[in-house]
Symmetry: C2
C-alpha cells in the first residue's frame, strides 16, 4: 500500500513528525480515505518506507489504538470498524441556529456600553487616579507576600478569605468607618460584582424580587438578572430610595440594593429617617438590604454618614465594599460584611460557589493595611480628590454660570450636573464622546417611568492640567446644536 | 439643659472628639433620650460647656442635620420630628427566621468537604508541587508587568481578557495541544469554576438540563446547581461518558460536561468513536459540550488524545483549561476556547457578567509563555510527575500486591486504586485522614445508582522522601478493621 502521502509536504511547522503522522492517519481514517478494516503496514516497514524512526510510527499507532481508531492483534494493525458511515471532517455543516445564540438571561449582560478606552478619558466615572497609586509601598508588600508564600497563599483561599486580611480589614472598618465588626463577619470576594452575585444566589432563589435604585448602578442589575432575580426599579428622591406602599405590597422584595452614603449616580445621601424606616420595614418583610458603600473612603468633609450596617442591632443588612477605587480595579478584591447570624454559613457556601484564591494579593493587602499605608493613601487621595472637585465645581460655574445645578460630591469621584429640559443628556454624552470625553448621561442609569436629565462627571482621573480643556470641550458639547432637543 | 454626658468618660480610644459627640448625640436621639422637638444649645454655648472647639460641635450638628436627625432654622437647632415612636437601639430583637437561612440553591454549595489543610497532605488530589514552582522567572515577569503597568492593566479587563495573553495562549494551544485557534476565540476567566459558571449562565437558562459525569467533578455540579440548571447524572464506563437512549430522550441536555482526555476522577480516556458519536448527537440535539481538558499538560507518554474541540468542524464544543495546576491555584486564571460563531458575543457578555481584571497577572503570564518559561516548566513538571507516578505505582504494588488494580495516570496528577468489595473506600479515606493523608474516596465523587469503590490518590505534591511513609500509612488504613465492610 502506498502511504507516502502521510508525510508529504507541506509539513506544518513546529509539529513533531510523530504528531504529523498521527494527525494525517487519523484524518484519513475519519474521512474514509482509509476504510474500516484496511490493514496497515507493520511499524518497521512503514518507518523504512517513510524514512523515519520506527518509534515515530509506534507512537502514532499506539495513540490511535488507544483512541479506538486502529485495532491491533496477531494479524497486525488495521483500521477499526467503529464508524459504519464515516463522518467526513470536511463536511462544512453549520451549527443549528439554536446553538448559535446565547441564553435568554445573557441578554442582561449584552447592554450597549462605552468602548473600553472611554474609561481612561476625562470625566469617565469610577476611574481612580492611577498615577497616584503608591506603587512602591504596594509592591514592597507584594514582595514580602511572595517571600513568605506557602500552600495557603498559592492554593485556594479558605472560608471567607485570608485570615490576616480579614483581621486587618475588621480593624480598618472599625476605626475608619465606625463599624463594629470582627474578622468572622467578613468574606473577601473578587470585587463588588462577585459580592452582589453571591448575595443574589446565596440569599435569593430564582424568581425572587430584588429592588434596584432608579436611577442606579447598572452592573448591579446585570448581576441580579443573571442570578435569575426579578429586578424591580424603585425611584430615588432627595432622601434616597423612596418605595411606595405599592412597591412593598405588590413587589415584595427579598433583596434591596442601595447606595445610601452617596447614591449612585446622583450622589444624594439617604436621610436617617429613611434609613431607619427601611431597616424596620425590611425586617418585617424578611428582606435583606445590600448596602453598597462604594467610595465612602473619599469623604470631602466631616464624618461619613453612619452605615446602615450596625445602625440597629440584628438588622438584615449586608455591607459591601471594594478596593477597586481605593487601590485599582484590576486588583479584583472586595468584601462583604455580614451579620453574625449568617456569616459562617455564607462564608462556607462562598468557598464552594466561587473557588477563590489570590492569596498573595490578599496577604499583601493585609500587610499594606497593617503598616498604615492604606490609611496614608486614603488620606492623600481624599485631599487630592477634594481639591479636584473644588476645581471642577469652579470651572463648571465659570463655564455654565453660577446657577448650574450640581449634586453629589459629598464622597466619591463624581458629580452630577443637571441639565435643563431643552438639552438632552444622551445627546451631550454622544457629542462629548466624539471629543474624547468619558462623560456619561444620567439617563443611561435611569429606567422609565423615572426621568433624569444630567451628566455624570467623574473627576478621579482628571489631572489638574487637563481640567480647563476638558470643561471647555464639555461646554462645546452642551452648547452644540446637536444636543438641543426639539421643543417638547 | 445638662449635656455633659455627651463627652463623659469612658471615651472610645482613637475616635476623634467630633465623632464621639456625633455618635452620642445620634444615639440619644434614636433612643428617645433626646425627644423629638427638643431644642439643642447653640454650638458656641455647647462648645464652652463641653470645653471643646466650636468646630467640633459644628461638625456633629452639620452631620446630623444632613442625616435628618436634627433640623436647624432661625429658632436654632432641635431634634427632628422624624420618628413618632423612637426605635430603641438596644432592643435586642432577633432577625426573622426567614432571613437566617441561605437560599435553597445555596444548599448545593454546602456539601461537606475536607478541611482546607487536607489539600496540603500526601495524596490530596489536584494539589500541584508548590515547591517546584518557578518563582524566580514568574516574579521577573510580574516585575516587568508592573514596570509597564498603565490603565489597561490596572483597570478592568477588556472583552475576553488581555490581548497579549490571548495571543500567547492561542499559540501555545496550537503548538502544544494541536488546537487550531486564534486569540479571538479565547476568553480568559478567573479559573475553571468561573468558566463553568459562564457556560451555565450564558449558554443555558434556568431549568435547562446539564449532564454531569458520574462519577465526576464535584465543583462542576455546584456551579451548575447555583446557575439553576437541572443536573442529570450520566454514567461513565471504560470508554468515557455512556449515555443511554433514555438519557437522550427523557433528559435532553442543553449542556454536556465531560473530561474526555482524563476522566475525573477515574482517569479513563474517552474513545474516539464515543467522541465522534457524542459530537454528532449533541449537534442534532442542540446541546453544547463542555470539554474540561484539565491536567492534559501532564501527559505521561506520547501525544495527548485529540481534543474534542476542533475534531470536527462546526462542533458545539467549548474547551476549558486552567493554569491552576500548571502554575498555582491561587493565581485564578483559566480560559475558555469557543467556536468562532459565538466567541465574540460570549466575550462581550462575559465582560458585563464578570467584571474581570488581574491585568498585571495576565500580562505577566503572556510574557511567561512568550519567553518559553511555560513550556520549560511544563516539560520539567511532566517528567517530575511521571517519575512520581512510576514510583507510586511501584510502591502500591509492593504494598498491595502486583494485582492491585490501578487506573488513570495517562495524564494529570492522580491515580485511582480500585478496592475489592470487602473494603469500603469511605472508611479507608476516613481512617487515612486520621493518619494525616489527603486521599479521597471514589465514592465521594459518585452518585447513586452508580457505584464505585476506590481511592483517588494525588501524587502532585508527593515528594520523593514522603512516598514510602505515605504508602505505609495508606496500607495501614486499607487493612484496618474499621475499613472492612461487613459481609454483603
Amino acid at each position: 500500500m502506498e502511504l507516502d502521502w502521510l508525510l508529504a509536504p507541506p509539513l506544518p511547522e513546529s509539529m513533531p513528525r510523530q504528531r504529523v503522522l498521527y494527525h494525517r492517519l487519523r484524518e484519513a481514517i475519519l474521512s474514509g480515505r482509509l476504510a474500516p478494516g484496511t490493514p496497515l503496514p507493520a511499524s518497521r516497514r512503514l518507518a523504512v518506507s517513510l524514512k523515519i524512526a520506527r518509534n515515530t510510527v509506534l507512537f502514532a499507532y499506539e495513540q490511535l489504538i488507544a483512541e479506538g481508531c486502529l485495532v491491533a492483534d496477531r494479524q497486525g494493525t488495521r483500521v477499526a470498524q467503529f464508524v459504519a458511515q464515516p463522518i467526513a471532517p470536511s463536511s462544512n455543516r453549520d451549527m443549528p441556529t439554536a446553538l448559535l445564540r446565547l441564553s435568554n438571561r445573557a441578554a442582561a449582560a449584552m447592554q450597549p456600553e462605552p468602548a473600553r478606552e472611554a474609561a481612561a478619558r476625562p470625566f469617565a466615572p469610577g476611574t481612580p487616579d492611577y498615577g497616584a497609586f503608591p506603587f512602591r509601598s504596594w509592591r514592597a508588600c507584594l514582595e514580602r507576600a511572595w517571600r513568605d508564600a506557602g500552600w495557603r497563599q498559592l492554593g485556594y483561599a479558605g472560608h471567607g478569605g485570608d485570615s490576616a486580611l480579614r483581621e486587618a480589614l475588621a480593624g480598618h472598618l472599625t476605626t475608619a468607618r465606625g463599624l463594629s465588626v470582627d474578622a468572622g463577619q467578613i468574606v473577601i470576594t473578587s470585587g463588588t460584582q462577585a459580592a452582589l452575585d453571591l448575595c443574589a444566589r446565596l440569599l435569593c432563589d430564582h424568581g425572587d424580587t430584588v429592588w434596584a435604585e432608579n436611577p442606579g448602578y447598572l452592573a448591579a442589575r446585570v448581576a441580579f438578572s443573571l442570578a435569575g432575580l426579578r429586578v424591580h426599579d424603585v425611584p430615588v428622591d432627595g432622601e434616597g430610595l423612596a418605595p411606595s406602599e405599592d412597591d412593598w405590597n405588590r413587589h415584595p422584595p427579598r433583596l434591596i440594593m442601595i447606595t445610601p452614603s452617596h447614591q449612585y449616580p446622583t450622589g444624594r445621601v439617604m436621610s436617617l429617617p429613611r434609613r431607619l424606616a427601611l431597616i424596620e420595614r425590611a425586617r418585617q418583610s424578611s428582606a435583606w438590604i445590600i448596602e453598597d458603600d462604594y467610595d465612602s473612603e473619599f469623604r470631602r468633609t466631616g464624618p461619613a454618614p453612619p452605615a446602615l450596617f450596625g445602625l440597629l442591632p440584628d438588622s438584615p443588612v449586608v455591607y459591601v465594599g471594594t478596593f477597586s477605587k481605593t487601590l485599582y480595579p484590576g486588583l479584583r478584591l472586595g468584601y462583604l460584611v455580614l451579620p453574625h447570624a449568617i456569616a459562617a454559613d455564607f462564608a462556607r457556601a462562598t468557598t464552594q460557589a466561587m473557588r477563590f484564591g489570590q492569596g498573595i494579593e490578599q496577604r499583601a493587602l493585609a500587610d499594606f493595611i497593617q503598616r498604615g499605608h492604606y490609611t496614608t493613601h486614603l488620606r492623600r487621595m481624599r485631599a487630592r480628590y477634594a481639591a479636584r472637585q473644588v476645581a471642577l465645581r469652579a470651572a463648571l460655574k465659570d463655564a455654565f454660570g453660577p446657577s448650574v445645578e450640581l449634586s453629589g460630591g459629598e464622597a466619591g469621584l463624581h458629580l452630577v450636573m443637571w441639565l435643563p429640559e431643552s438639552i438632552g443628556d444622551t445627546e451631550v454624552a454622544k457629542c462629548a464622546a466624539e471629543m474624547g470625553l468619558g462623560v456619561r448621561a444620567l439617563g443611561s442609569y435611569t429606567r422609565a417611568p423615572m426621568t433624569c436629565n444630567g451628566l455624570v462627571l467623574g473627576y478621579g482621573n482628571l489631572a489638574e492640567g487637563m481640567l480647563a480643556e476638558a470643561v471647555r470641550r464639555l461646554a462645546v458639547a452642551v452648547r452644540s446644536p446637536a444636543s438641543h432637543r426639539r421643543e417638547v
